[in-house]
Symmetry: C2
Subunit: 340 residues, 2 copies
DNA sequence: TTAAAAGTTCAAAACGTTTTAGATTATTGA
DNA sequence: TCAATAATCTAAAACGTTTTGAACTTTTAA
C-alpha cells in the first residue's frame, strides 16, 4: 500500500504538502497539486483510514441496533433501511456497525456497544413515545440521530415525517369528499408515530366539528385490522377509514368486501404508505389512495445529518420534517349520499 | 479518556511497561502488574482501539454481505446468524460491518467494501456450488471464513456440517426400519448444501442396493414440498421422506395427511433441522425425527476461526465439520409391511 | 529599490498504542 | 567474590495521517 511518504519521496515534497494537495487545501500550488495527484493515482494511493481516524479522533463508525423479536424476526423494513443507510454512509467514508437487541432493557445493547468505545454515534429508529434510549444517550452526551421523533420538543437531530399532518391530510381529503363518519385504524400506541397520528386525527376531526370516536390502536397486522374494521362496520357505520399502513389497509379492504360493501362506492380507504417492499399500494384493487413518504428516502438525509452532527452542527439545525405526498387513486370517493 | 501515558505518569513507570503489564506479558513483575492494573481500573482505562489498530495493522472489523431478494427480504436465518456472530466477534474486540448485495454480480458488494480498504476479512455463508465469491476473494488474497463448503477440496477455512453424512444418517435409519422406497425432497441444487445432500443420499441408497430415483430439488418452500410429496405419493408410493429442512417437512406431512395417510404408520418423515426460529421440529404433530445441527452453534466457531485465520493460522487447520445429531421422535416408524 | 503582503512549502509534533533493542537490577553458580 | 544469567524495566521507533508554526519564495505597493 502506497503511503503519503512514498508520494512525497518520489516528488521531493514534504508529507505535509502531499497531504494538503490531496485534501484540496487552497494554499497548495495548482501545478504541485496536479503532480501529486498524478503520482497518487499511479501508485493507487488510498489513505489509511485508521491513521486518519487516530489523528482526527473519530472512528468513522456509527452504530445501529436492531430490535428483534423473540422469534428472531425483525421489522420488515429493516433491510430497506440497512441498504439505504450503508450506501449513504459509505459516501462519507463511514461504516455501519450493527448489534442486536434481544433484551428487555432497550438501552442494554447501546451500553454494550459503547463500552467497546469505538463508535462515533448512533442511528436510532422506530422510537417509542418518550423513548428511554433517547434519555440514555442524551445523558451520556453520545451523538445520535433519530428517524422519527419521540417527544414534542426534541433536542436531538431528527428526520421524519409530520405524522399529525399525515392524519390531517387524510381527514381533509375525506371531509372534502363529504365523509363525516371517519374511522382510524392505527398502529400500537407505544410507537411515537401512532400517538402522533392519533392526535393529528383527533385535532383534524375536531376542527371540522366531527367526533373522532372510531379509533382503534393495535399491532399493525392485517388480521387485527380486519377484525377492527368488521366490528366498526357492523356497529358504527363509518363511510371512510384512515389506515396507518398499507398492511392495515389490506385488512380493512378485506373486511369491507366480506361485509358485502364496495370500495370506494360505500366506503373510502386512505392509507399511509412508507413504501414497504411487500405491500404495494398501487397493486391494491382498487389501487390505494395514500399519503406517501418512502422510508427509503430517509436514509440519505439521516446519514448526512449524522455526519453533520458529528462535525459539530448543533441539533436544532438538524431537525427535518419531510412532507408526505397525497396520492389519489381509486380507493377514495364521495361519501354515499344516503348515509350523510 | 485515560491513556497509557496517564497511568505511566502516575506510577513513574514507562509506557512500555504499562502496556505490557496490561497485556499480560510474562516479563513484568507481578507486583508492578498489580499496581498498574489498580491504577488502570481506577482511571477507567480503556485502550484506544484505533491506536491499537494502527500499530498492529489490523482494523478489527470483518465484513459480511447479506444477499437480499428483490422484495427486500432476506433469509429467515439472517438474524439468527447476525445475533450469534456479533456476540462472538465482540469477545475478540472485533466488529461486524454489514453490506447488502442486491446486484446480479455476487462479487460486486465485496469489491465495494474492499475498496474502502478497511476490513480485515469476510465471513461468507450460504455458498453456491463453486461459489464465485470464493475465487474472487482467494484470487485477491483476502482472508475469509465460510459457513458451509462450496467445493470438494476447500483451501479456505470452513465450518459446516457434513451434508453427505446427514443424508446417509437419515437413509441408514430408515433402511434399518425396513424402508426401501425412500424419497428425498431437497433444496435448490444451486446451493452447495443441497448438492451434497443429494450425493450423500444417492451414495447411501446405492450402498444398500436401493435405487435413488425419488428426488426433487426445488426452492425450500412449504408449498413446493407439498406438491412434490403429493405427486410422489400418487405415482411412486414412497414409504419414507428425507427432507432438507423442517419447512419442507411441514409441506410433506401436509401432503401425507391430505392423501389420507398417516405419519408414521404409513409414511415416515426425517428432516434436517438447523433450528430455525419459526419452524420447530419438536412442535410438529407427530414430533419430527431429525438430524439436528443448529445454525446458532456455528457462530462462535466461525468467529474464532476468523480471528485465528487473521492471526496467521493456515487454512488447513481451520476446517471443521460438525456432526449432526440424530434425534428420534414420532415421525419415523417401521415400514408398513404390505408395501415391502 | 525595498518593505510588506501574499503565496507556497516544510519540519516537527501529535494521536495512543505496540514492539525492538538495550539498559539496569537482581539472582545464580563457582 | 565475580562473572554469567535471569528478571525487570526503559527509551525510542514505528504505524500513517493531520495540523501547527515557521520558513522560504514570489508578488505587490510605494
Amino acid at each position: 500500500m502506497a503511503t503519503l511518504k512514498d508520494i512525497s519521496a518520489e516528488l521531493g515534497l514534504s508529507v505535509a504538502t502531499v497531504s494538503r494537495a490531496l485534501n484540496g487545501f487552497p494554499e497548495v500550488n495548482v501545478r504541485t497539486r496536479n503532480r501529486v495527484q498524478a503520482v497518487a493515482d499511479r501508485l493507487g494511493y488510498r489513505p489509511n483510514r485508521i491513521a486518519q481516524r487516530l489523528v482526527t479522533g473519530r472512528s468513522g463508525m456509527v452504530g445501529m441496533i436492531v430490535k428483534i423479536k423473540a422469534d428472531m424476526s425483525a421489522d420488515e423494513t429493516f433491510f430497506e433501511i440497512l441498504t439505504g443507510l450503508t450506501a449513504a454512509l459509505a459516501d462519507h467514508d463511514t461504516d455501519l456497525v450493527l448489534a442486536v437487541d434481544q433484551e428487555n432493557d432497550p438501552t442494554a445493547a447501546y451500553a454494550k456497544l459503547l463500552e467497546r468505545d469505538i463508535l462515533d454515534g448512533f442511528i436510532l429508529n422506530a422510537p417509542e413515545r418518550n423513548d428511554p434510549r433517547v434519555n440514555y444517550l442524551l445523558g451520556r452526551g453520545i451523538p445520535f440521530v433519530m428517524h422519527g421523533q419521540d417527544r414534542d420538543q426534541p433536542t436531538y437531530p431528527t428526520y421524519g415525517i409530520d405524522n399529525k399532518a399525515v392524519s390531517a391530510q387524510a381527514v381533509k381529503l375525506l371531509v372534502n369528499l363529504g365523509h363525516r363518519r371517519i374511522a382510524l385504524i392505527n398502529g400500537e400506541m407505544g410507537s411515537a408515530f401512532a400517538a402522533d397520528r392519533m392526535s393529528g386525527f383527533q385535532d383534524a376531526m375536531k376542527a371540522r366539528g366531527l367526533v373522532a370516536d372510531l379509533i382503534r390502536n393495535d399491532a399493525a397486522l392485517q388480521s387485527h385490522a380486519y377484525s377492527h374494521a368488521l366490528d366498526l362496520l357492523a356497529t358504527a357505520g363509518p363511510t371512510a377509514f384512515v389506515c396507518a399502513s398499507t398492511v392495515i389497509a389490506a385488512g380493512v379492504m378485506q373486511a369491507v368486501k366480506d361485509r358485502g360493501l364496495s370500495v370506494p362506492r360505500d366506503v373510502s380507504v386512505v392509507a399511509h404508505d412508507d413504501a414497504p417492499p411487500l405491500t404495494r399500494a398501487r397493486n391494491f384493487e382498487p389501487a390505494l389512495t395514500v399519503t406517501r413518504a418512502p422510508l427509503r428516502d430517509a436514509c440519505e438525509p439521516l446519514a448526512n445529518m449524522m455526519i453533520a452532527h458529528l462535525k459539530g452542527t448543533p441539533a436544532k439545525d438538524l431537525q427535518v420534517w419531510q412532507n408526505a405526498e397525497m396520492i389519489l387513486r381509486g380507493s377514495t370517493g364521495p361519501a354515499p349520499a344516503e348515509r350523510n
